[in-house]
Amino acid sequence: MTTTATNELFQTEKEELISGSEAIALACALADVDVITAYPIRPYDTVMQYVSKLKADGSFDCDFIVAESEHSQFEIVKHASSVGARTFTGSSGVGWFYAFEAITVTAGLRLPVVAMVGNRALDDPGAFGVEHNDALAVRDLGWMLYWVATAQEALDIALLAWRVAEDPTVFLPFAVSCDGSFLTHSQAIVNVPTSEQVNKFLPPYDRGKLQLHPDNPITIAPQVNEDWLMEMRRQSDEAMHRSVGVIKKAYEEFKEIFGRGDPSPFVEEYMTEDADIIIVGMGTLALPVRVAVRRFQEAGRKIGFVRVKFFRPFPTEELQEILTKCKAVCVVDRDYSYGAPSYGGVLFTELRSALYPMEKRPLMLNFIAGLGGREVHVNDVNDMVDIVQKAIETGIIEQEATWIGVRDN
């Protein structure tokens, strides 16, 4: 027995001037989420402030639970999800890490929890600015992982998240990554859809034969030995494989119902046609990079940009197709991975791995930039492109990974 409520707040489509956090809070209300758990940590927690206000004002009927730690936050929604409730939670930085045990088991249990990560640098030292290392830490666990770039996208992708995560052929949790400050605290014009549109797009969560309920007596997650675990891992692997098709289909429907969206749900291409150099990055980095790319193009230089939206499942085929057409790839990582191959960032390492089987491999250079919330300026992008250009011309890569915007004195 399932019904989706029509919320009076969302009778008509309207524009709002809101932050990414607020956009996701509205998505929660639109999706009629049942259980939400909160615990304070900057910058993600703005979303919970909006959720609690919506509830207090009677605009959103959910069980809003103020937990005593991030670990409990994630454990509570995990269990609510197991009995069939639609759930939402979130965290940032070391808070996300405090919840890590619960985050891990949520994926193992195949529970479609949707979480917002307000990307934040990891302590120590305490720092509030954006870095992607927090969310990236779940990349091996069976979480779908998406980086949004605008408040509008935050709202849209939150809706897509429940749709894909709760698909019975997927049943994997979904993390919506939002750059701290740039998305969580800056406001933009957002088109807020109607409940009717959302209900058309997002069916009720039906846990089916996996629902924990006296009418469906099951035992969930008994301990296993080596006789069984590999098969379970293989199932999750297959679910992640299946999510690709589910995402594509859902995104097509999304565009039809809401009338917006990119050609691909996985990557955003910007002026990549005939590009010699393609810059690759994630999240709000897109803004300065797009500006820089426009200026390059105006100056007659063939520089393009690809924004990786889904980090998991990783858009291997799309990126292989786009990036093998250019001479050099300039990967911008807003993260670090000390001691990684070539001392590169996480995105760089993954991308290089994705391109390895290709016959025509472009030159690849990596730039670590914008850590701890430091702004990435158009000038920084220019510096990166200069280094890449030099490599193309000389055929020599002097240094594969370069830190940009760091004081070297």
Partner: protein, 329 residues
């Protein structure tokens, strides 16, 4: 708040329900008192119950893929998560029922944890769960006085001096575990005045155990039961003595059986008789010397134990329960 089930108090052992929610297929030790506690718990609660169990013996030994002893729906939760698991399960049900997404009916929610998962790691989450009085749930802590599943390591609930793999008596130090057992139930009762039911329990007193479970599930809001479970493996005794040791720990006054219903404390069974002076406490030596984990004890060690027990009955503000004495002025 959702309504609760009609689970009346059971009058006499012969009226204990015959239905089973926990049957064979578990791989616990012979004479495992905690397995009995699981069985009694679900007997009292009945089939319309969801059980969530945190890591420990009652996870690993009970449910080993591909078999389960559970008749009722059961789910694993992380070691320190019994409080959160109970809250999440109850919240999910409550929300969906309120919003018409699920058929409305009272479903019992029980989360259990061992002493490691409860009194050590899970204390904060249990405390938080006990503050959410909009959810009906029970947290049952089965206390076998060590991390028994991982091979008997000392927990905050391990008694003074007991031999564990983290507190072995050695050539230089005989007593490695110098901590006195954590007084968990009173700590939670005193710290959460809105909780309507906190009790201690013991599988050796089956009827009392059943009725405490029922009281916890029907009184409304979050509730907590601390059960003491003799562990034949970790305590080192012939498994057939599980029941007898469960009684001895009460009869020596080392463990006190009571329930706190809406702030009012009642001692039960032998503890009540001891408090009223009807029954004399047995010497703790009788209890200690029956277990291999205390086999290294000297007379002095036994005396330390006896003195602490005497003190708890003679000096504490609430004998055997709350370790506070009245100031002199």
């Amino acid at each position: 708040m959702t309504t609760v089930q009609d689970l009346p108090q059971i009058k006499g052992v012969k009226n204990i329900p015959i239905s089973e929610g926990y049957t064979s297929g578990h791989r616990t030790c012979q004479g495992c008192e905690s397995a009995l506690v699981m069985r009694l718990m679900i007997k009292a609660a009945g089939q319309r119950t969801i059980v969530v169990g945190s890591t420990g013996c009652m996870y690993v030994a009970n449910t080993t893929y591909y078999s389960t002893p559970w008749v009722v729906p059961w789910m694993h939760t992380q070691l320190g998560s019994s409080g959160s698991a109970a809250t999440g399960t109850a919240a999910g049900l409550a929300s969906m029922m309120r919003k018409g997404k699920m058929h409305k009916e009272p479903i019992n929610v029980i989360a259990f944890c061992g002493d490691g998962g409860g009194a050590d790691m899970g204390l904060a989450a249990i405390s938080a769960a006990l503050q959410h009085d909009e959810y009906n749930l029970l947290i049952l802590m089965y206390d076998n006085e060590s991390y028994a599943n991982t091979d008997i390591q000392a927990s905050g609930s391990t008694p003074y001096g007991a031999n564990t793999t983290f507190s072995p008596p050695g050539k230089e130090t005989r007593i490695m575990n110098k901590r006195w057992k954590k007084n968990t139930a009173p700590m939670l009762a005193v710290g959460h005045p809105d909780v309507k039911f906190v009790a201690t329990a013991n599988g050796s007193y089956g009827l009392d155990f059943n009725n405490k479970i029922r009281r916890a599930l029907t009184i409304g809001g979050p509730t907590f039961i601390h059960s003491i479970d003799p562990c034949p493996k970790g305590w080192d005794y012939d498994p057939k003595f599980s029941h007898e040791l469960g009684m001895l720990i009460v009869e020596t006054g080392l463990w006190v059986q009571y329930e706190i219903i809406e702030g009012e404390l009642t001692l039960n069974g032998p503890s009540r008789a001891i408090a009223r002076g009807i029954r004399k406490r047995k010497p703790v030596e009788e209890y200690l010397m029956r277990q291999g984990r205390f086999a290294h004890f000297t007379k002095e060690d036994i005396k330390i134990f006896q003195d602490r027990v005497d003190e708890s009955w003679e000096k504490w503000w609430l004998p055997g329960v709350i370790p506070v004495t009245m100031g002199q002025d």
